[in-house]
Subunit: 367 residues, 2 copies
């Protein structure tokens, strides 16, 4: 898919690799034709998807509010901080939108979407402990306010509660998908922890990590809509592929944004990945393309010995110089295109348009 | 059940409360008659239960070893440290022994027993992070060796894997029992966290905490044997009550031992609870019975301002003086007796004898 390569986050002048030179405009046109076709000239957004699922999402929200309650006050207090904290509810929204895509007439997917959000919230709480994060979605993290212990234990509670909700629904197939997804996510997190500060991480290894820690739950969130709608395996596989590729695209765009955004738009500090010694795709590509001297810089940076603001500025210069932020976004568009194709077989509908625009939105966040 | 009150961990001379004076020998005789009746004069042990379930436990162990594997090496490495670290496998052993009690001829309980152990191991990994423990079962804790992040994430993996194993078994009823138990455990842990360093915790509040964080999984481990054996609700309830009361007895004895044992026999340091500001039953009773001056001491100790070795020695003196270690053990025997009675209706068998002796063992550890 060479046509989707080559556009970038702006300044391409200093770029060393010229292989994609001149293709930017063409690539943008192709993306426009393929992904943006349904929303004309306005920037892609999640608004159509949100409008599509608004009524269902109210039900999801009341399940979430109801089931995060406990006689132990710290649980709703801490969970509420994160859950009320203005996330996009991307994963439950996908479950609901996929339900619409399949014309599912029931209500079961609302409870299950809430379970998916609980699993996601639990992993966020534990992630923040692991990453020692201070900010999440522009707010103080729970671990900063209530401490690591509370974050770990309330995460455990939400995770268990997710399974209780799934058991109430009663589908062993859904339970299988989401218990497997949870194990894969944890495995991916441990894998990432092992890869942390390891500059030799390859692109393949990195893709395996984000496939597990991000894309797996996107895939599961979509797939379970096909299960409750009692559709065939091909439909399950199509929605799985849609969610998985969208998830990878989202994560790659996040990786790029971490080096070009600021705390206000991103809801976390710029360069957080850099300071945490996280080896993300922009760095993997820059290391692969770097001189001996540059590689030495990256080694010191990733081990945590060179992470000052000046070092971050130098790192960002190297990424731009080697075009690796552009190329990370090109990779993201590749997965975005695969997500588009995964649901290509469904007949045209508002839901299909909204799901397609969500992909464009995921990628457009970087521009 | 006044007859089971009154015996203690030795020196009763300085005891203020005389209400149980002189009953020690009688109480011990009654416990001997009621609990120890099946094993004559040898000290109660878990040996009969271990012998009873040895073959099944081999199967459980191979499921555990098989299902803790992962392509991410840190997972089996860290999980193996704890799982191979010589725990008694008390919870899976109970599932298996209850299976024997019911003459269950199948194999399903072996996989489920492994799932129970995974849930337990996950909670231990997270507990050690919460408690900042250095020692567990006489070995360095995983968080000390691999760090908190790895402990949190490998715990999450084992927890998810437990659900995968349960889903493979396919019983929604078992899934319901164990997802509920997991939520209750996490709730209990958060509750305990909130109660930490809060000297005003009442005995009732404390019982609610240990019922959740310890007894719930004991109860679930026993109850699921009745589910796979397809027995009636009364049988489920009986095994639940057996496990729950045994669990409470275990925890209360642990609380007592923490003040009278040493690192070698307990596998953790003496006075750990004291230094962590944990308000356990011996302290709750001593605070309730203490003078104004003593209460002031407890307040300072529990808030962490007076936890030197000398303070611990003073605390232990106060506990002995008010007989609260004895009385904690008396409470433990009360719950032990309830566990005995819970399975009183089953016909005599090797399994019943072994389950009964396990109660006596739980209590005898303190002597």
């Amino acid at each position: 898919m060479p046509g989707t390569l080559g556009t970038g986050e702006g300044a391409l002048a200093s770029r060393k690799s010229l292989q994609n030179g001149g293709r930017t405009a063409k690539a943008r046109r192709i993306m426009t034709a393929e992904i943006h076709q349904l929303h004309g000239d306005r920037p892609p957004s999640l608004d159509p998807m949100m409008a599509l699922v608004a009524a269902d999402m109210n039900e999801v929200n009341s399940v979430i509010l109801d089931r995060m309650q406990s006689e132990v006050p710290l649980i709703p207090e801490l969970a509420g901080h994160l859950i009320a904290g203005g996330g996009k509810r991307m994963r439950p929204m996908l479950t609901l939108a996929c339900g619409k895509l399949l014309d599912y007439p029931g209500r079961r997917h609302c409870k299950l979407a809430a379970a998916v959000e609980f699993i996601h919230t639990a992993t966020l709480l534990h992630d923040d402990v692991v990453d020692k994060s201070d900010l999440r979605r522009g707010r103080k993290t729970a671990n900063l306010i209530w401490g690591n212990s509370a974050s770990v234990l309330v995460g455990d509670f939400l995770f268990s509660r997710a399974f209780e909700v799934m058991v109430e629904d009663g589908s062993l197939k859904v339970l299988k998908i989401l218990s497997r997804a949870s194990a894969v996510i944890a495995e991916g997190e441990v894998n990432q922890l092992s890869a942390q500060r390891r500059i030799e991480t390859s692109e393949d290894q990195y893709l395996a990590i984000i496939n597990a820690k991000t894309a797996e739950l996107f895939a599961a969130a979509c797939k379970i809509a096909a299960v409750v709608a009692e559709r065939d395996e091909a439909t399950e596989a199509a929605l799985d592929a849609y969610g998985r590729n969208l998830g990878i695209a989202f994560q790659l765009v996040d990786d790029a944004i971490d080096y070009v955004s600021d705390a206000e738009t991103m809801g976390k500090g710029v360069g957080d990945d850099f300071r945490d010694g996280k080896v993300t795709l922009p760095v993997i590509l820059a290391y692969a393309r770097g001189s001996a001297e540059e590689r030495e810089f990256w080694k010191l940076a990733i081990t945590g010995h060179r992470t000052s603001d000046e070092d971050l500025a130098h790192a960002t210069r190297l990424l731009r110089q080697h075009g690796t932020i552009d190329d990370t976004l090109a990779r993201a568009r590749h997965y975005g295109q695969r997500a588009v194709d995964a649901i290509g077989g469904f007949r045209a509908s508002q839901a299909k348009a909204a799901l397609t625009e969500a992909i464009a939105f995921a990628i457009a966040r970087a521009y």
